[in-house]
């Protein structure tokens, strides 16, 4: 009982920390890292539910596998976009980059 709540509160805290990072950071790479934090918070939540509430099946862990896959794809694409931005604009400050077309 108490362990499930520790896990859920931890996940909620990490999610909100990531939310703060996404909202307050200007550097595109730092925004990416905060998005990773939010994804990991969701993973902690899924594992906690899979362990304590729906422990008769492994659906939660399967969902975590899919989330990790999508996160890996997202990081690869985002790095490509960041490099492209840097080549075109010489900056990755998100306030200065407001359109993708030159």
């Amino acid at each position: 009982m108490i362990e499930l709540q520790i896990l859920l509160v931890t996940a909620a805290a990490v999610f909100c920390i990531g939310l703060y990072g996404v909202l307050s950071r200007k550097n595109a790479v730092l925004v990416l890292m905060s998005v990773e934090l939010m994804l990991n918070a969701v993973n902690i939540n899924l594992v906690a539910f899979s362990r304590y509430v729906f422990s008769s099946n492994v659906v939660g862990e399967v969902l975590v596998v899919f989330i990790i896959t999508v996160a890996a794809a997202e990081v690869g694409l985002a790095m490509a976009i960041v490099l492209r931005l840097f080549r075109n604009w010489r900056t990755i400050n998100l306030d200065n980059v407001s359109k993708m077309k030159n």
């Binding site: 990490v14 990991n40 509430v53 890996a72 790095m79």
Partner: protein, 165 residues
């Protein structure tokens, strides 16, 4: 014992993720993120999700951090960005705290029904593999397609384009 390990890993995750969003140095943020991800992996291990702990180390600590480090090194800004206004950050922190309070309210108002942990003798590994290749076969294949498309898209985006923007 398990309660102690859970609390320990949870506090490591909390402090290092705070470090990710609060530090000024980008490389330090990446190192803090690495500590957070390894902490999440340890948490998975404590919660008996061994396969996920392995995958977490392999993909996040092995691949994602390296990619992030590459993008940090390749996009070094020459001048440090000017100080942003503190009131805006304070407001955003307030918004995040408000969301956190909402989550906590929901967590502690719900009376969770804890199911007994079923430990089948084959283990979670076997159950996870069976679920992936029976009930979740189509999503599994679509996930591989997503990875392929992301790979091709990343290559096309970073190539010195003939007609590229």
């Amino acid at each position: 014992m398990q309660l102690f390990l859970t609390s320990l890993t949870a506090s490591i995750i909390l402090f290092s993720s705070l470090g990710v969003v609060l530090t000024r140095n980008v490389v330090h943020a990446a190192i803090f993120l690495l500590v957070t991800l390894i902490g999440v992996s340890a948490l998975f291990l404590v919660q008996l999700a061994e396969f996920l702990a392995l995958v977490q180390i392999l993909i996040y600590a092995g691949a994602v951090i390296i990619v992030l480090m590459f993008s940090i090194m390749l996009t070094r800004e020459t001048e440090q960005t000017a100080v942003s206004n503190n009131t805006g950050k304070l407001m955003l922190g307030g918004v995040s705290l408000l969301v956190f309070a909402g989550f906590c309210f929901a967590i502690f108002m719900t009376d969770w029904i804890i199911a007994d942990y079923v430990s089948n003798e084959a283990g979670r590994f076997v159950a996870l593999g069976k679920a992936l290749f029976s009930d979740f076969l189509v999503p599994f294949e679509i996930a591989s397609l997503v990875l392929l498309v992301a790979l091709v898209g990343a290559v096309i985006l970073t190539r010195e384009g003939r007609e590229g923007a």
